[in-house]
C-alpha cells in the first residue's frame, strides 16, 4: 500500500511550499514595479517591450534551462504569434486580448510541427530551429501570399491600438511566464526535465517518456513567445515581417536569460531588466555592435558561466553546505 514515510512527506511538502509562496513573490514584484514604474519612467512602449522580453527570457529559461536545448530560432514563435493574432484582429475582428491567446495557441501548434527538430542535438538543434524560423519568415513575407499575410508589407493594427491595455497585457504575460518557470522549477514535471537534462537514457530507464516531457516544455515556451509576439505587434501597431521574425530577438532573450541565470526563477527577470536597460541606454544607436557584443556574451556565458549571475550566488551557498556537511 502506498504509505507516505518521512522522506516522501518531506519531498511532498518541500515542493508544495516552494510551489505557493516564492512563485507568487517572483511574479508579483515585477507586476508592482511595472505598474508603478510607468508613472516614473513614462516611455510605456519601452516598458512594454521590457515586459515582453522578461516573458521571452523565461521561455528560454524553460526550454534551455530545464531541457538543455538552446533554440536560436525562438523568434519564429514570436513572429507566428504576431501574425496569427494580428490576422485574427484584422480578418475576424477578434478582441486584442483574445487575439493574444490565439497567437500563443498558433505558436504552440507550430511548435508541435517542429517537434522532429528534437532529433538533433546541441548546436545542430540550435541551428535547426534557426533554419525553421527563417523558413516560416520566408513563407509569411512571400509576396505571393499577399492576399493572406500582406506579404512583405506587414500588418497595420492601428485600429486596435490601446496603450494601457497592451501594457497591462504585457505585464500579465511576464507574470504568467514567471509563474510557468517557477512551476517548472518546483514541480515533479520540472524534476523530470532536470533528470532528462542530466542523462536522457537514464531518465527513460526511470520510466520517463523523454520525448513527451520535452514536448510539453517546448509547447509552453512556444506559447509564451507567441503571446509575446502578439502583444509586440499589437502595441507597436504597425510592423513589417522582418521586425517580428528577427533573429536578434532570440539573441537578446538568450543573453538576458543566460546572464541572469537559467534554471532559476529570478535570473531571467533580473537579467532582462539590467541588460535591456543598458541596451536601450547605449545600444539602440549602434545596434549592429550590440548584436555582436551580445553574441559574444552568449558564447562566453555558455562556456564559462553557464549559471549566470545566479551561479555566483549558488557557488557561495554550495561552499557553505559542503563545509557544513563535513561536520556531520
Amino acid at each position: 500500500m502506498p504509505k507516505l514515510d518521512e522522506i516522501d512527506r518531506t519531498l511532498e511538502t518541500e515542493s508544495k511550499g516552494k510551489r505557493l509562496i516564492s512563485p507568487a513573490v517572483a511574479a508579483l514584484v515585477p507586476v508592482v514595479v511595472f505598474a508603478v514604474g510607468v508613472h516614473i519612467y513614462s516611455n510605456e512602449l519601452l516598458l512594454t517591450y521590457m515586459a515582453i522580453y522578461i516573458a521571452l527570457a523565461q521561455g528560454i529559461n524553460i526550454i534551455y534551462g530545464f531541457t538543455g536545448y538552446l533554440p536560436f530560432g525562438y523568434f519564429g514563435f514570436f513572429g507566428v504569434g504576431a501574425y496569427a493574432s494580428g490576422l485574427a484582429m484584422l480578418d475576424y475582428n477578434v478582441p486584442p486580448v483574445l487575439a493574444v491567446v490565439i497567437g500563443g495557441v498558433a505558436a504552440a501548434l507550430v511548435g508541435a510541427l517542429l517537434l522532429p527538430l528534437f532529433r538533433l542535438r546541441g548546436a545542430y538543434f540550435a541551428i535547426g530551429t534557426l533554419a525553421a524560423s527563417e523558413a516560416i519568415y520566408a513563407i509569411v513575407s512571400n509576396p505571393s501570399l499577399q492576399s493572406i499575410t500582406n506579404g512583405p508589407y506587414g500588418l497595420n493594427l492601428a485600429a486596435y491600438y490601446s496603450s494601457g491595455t497592451a501594457y497591462g497585457t504585457a505585464i500579465a504575460l511576464a507574470a504568467i511566464a514567471i509563474l510557468a518557470a517557477s512551476y517548472v522549477r518546483s514541480s515533479k514535471f520540472g524534476l523530470t526535465l532536470k533528470a532528462i537534462r542530466d542523462d536522457s537514457y537514464s531518465a527513460s530507464m526511470s520510466g520517463v517518456n523523454v520525448p513527451r516531457q520535452r514536448f510539453y516544455a517546448w509547447l509552453i515556451a512556444a506559447a509564451i513567445a507567441g503571446m509575446g509576439g502578439s502583444i509586440f505587434g499589437w502595441s507597436t501597431s504597425v510592423f513589417y515581417p522582418q521586425a517580428v521574425f528577427d533573429s536578434s530577438l532570440s539573441v537578446l532573450a538568450i543573453v538576458f536569460a543566460l546572464f541572469g541565470g537559467v534554471g532559476t526563477v529570478w535570473g531571467p527577470t533580473v537579467g532582462t531588466v539590467v541588460l535591456y536597460a543598458i541596451y536601450n541606454a547605449i545600444g539602440v544607436s549602434n545596434p549592429q555592435y550590440f548584436q555582436l557584443i551580445y553574441g559574444l556574451v552568449i558564447v562566453l556565458l555558455v562556456l564559462f558561466a553557464p549559471r549566470g549571475l545566479a551561479g555566483l550566488r549558488q557557488i557561495k551557498s554550495r561552499r557553505a553546505t559542503t563545509v557544513g556537511a563535513k561536520n556531520d
Binding site: K3, E6, L11, S204, M205, G207, N209
Partner: protein, 243 residues
C-alpha cells in the same frame, strides 16, 4: 493457468535475439529464460556481447531478430520508458545518477513515473542509503552510486533487474553487503541477470550461469559445471577474467 502452485513463474523469455551493429553481429541468436526470484549470471570475455544483451532487452537497441517476452507479454522493440514501467530495469556498468538532483530526488523521478507507487523511504532503506537521502550525488562513494542505481530501479517495482558489473572496484565488505541486498531482492520475487567478471562474487549471488562468446551462447548451467566445461575454459584461456 493450469500451472501447479509449486512451479515458479516465467518472468522473462528472450528468444533468438540478434543485434547487429553495421553488419557486425554483437549478439547472435541468443535465447534464455528467467523465473521469478531466479538469479542468472551472465559471463563472457570482454566484447562478448554482455552489455549489448542488456541494452537490447532494455530497449536501447532494436534487435535485428528475435523476441523479448516479459511476464507473458511480447515487449520486443518497445521504448526504454515503457519497459521500465512494465518491470524491466537495470543498473549501469558506470553508474548514471542524475547529478544535479539529491539522492532522494533521484529515486523520486522513478517513483513519479512508476505504475505502482513505492515508498521512497523503504527503497532507500533496502539499499542502505536512508541516511544519505539529502546528499548531493558527488558526496556518494562509487559503491553508494551503484546502490542508488539499484534504488532507482526498485522504485519502479521491477520484475527483472539487469545488474551490469556491480562488483568492479568494491571492497570485500561492500561486496558482501551488495550480495546480501541482491539476495533480499530475490526473496521478494525479483529476478536478476548479473553481468559479472568476478567469479567469487558471482558464486555468492547466482546458482546458474549463461556464457557468451562472440555474441553466441556457448554454455548454460551451474557455475561449477561452467568452470569445468572445455569450451568455456578455452574461451577464457589466458584471460585474466577467471582468475
Amino acid at each position: 493457468m493450469g500451472r501447479k502452485m509449486t512451479e515458479t513463474k516465467s518472468l522473462l523469455k528472450v528468444e533468438n535475439l540478434t543485434t547487429v551493429f553495421s553488419g557486425f553481429k554483437a549478439l547472435d541468436d541468443v535465447s534464455l529464460e528467467l523465473f521469478e526470484g531466479q538469479a542468472l549470471g551472465l559471463v563472457g570475455p570482454n566484447g562478448s556481447g554482455k552489455t549489448t544483451l542488456v541494452n537490447t532487452v532494455c530497449g536501447l537497441y532494436k534487435p535485428e531478430n528475435g523476441r523479448v517476452i516479459l511476464d507473458g507479454i511480447d515487449v520486443t522493440g518497445k521504448q526504454p520508458h515503457y519497459l521500465a514501467r512494465a518491470g524491466i530495469n537495470r543498473t549501469f556498468q558506470i553508474p548514471k545518477p542524475f547529478k544535479d538532483l539529491s539522492v532522494s530526488e533521484n529515486v523520486l523521478v522513478s517513483s513519479i513515473h512508476s505504475k505502482n507507487k513505492v515508498s521512497i523511504t523503504e527503497v532507500l532503506e533496502k539499499v542502505k542509503l536512508r541516511d544519505c537521502a539529502n546528499y548531493p550525488i558527488e558526496k556518494l562513494t562509487a559503491a553508494q552510486q551503484k546502490r542508488l542505481d539499484l534504488a532507482r530501479a526498485l522504485a519502479l517495482d521491477p520484475k527483472v533487474i539487469f545488474v551490469d558489473e556491480l562488483a568492479a572496484g568494491l571492497t570485500p565488505t561492500e561486496l558482501n553487503e551488495i550480495a546480501e541486498m541482491l539476495a533480499e531482492f530475490r526473496r521478494s520475487g525479483i529476478a536478476l541477470i548479473v553481468v559479472e567478471h568476478l567469479l567469487g562474487f558471482l558464486e555468492q549471488v547466482v546458482e546458474s550461469v549463461f556464457v557468451l562468446s562472440a555474441g553466441k551462447k556457448i554454455f548454460g548451467g551451474t557455475l561449477r559445471d561452467a568452470l569445468s566445461d572445455e569450451e568455456v575454459k578455452r574461451v577464457f584461456l589466458g584471460g585474466a577474467d577467471v582468475a
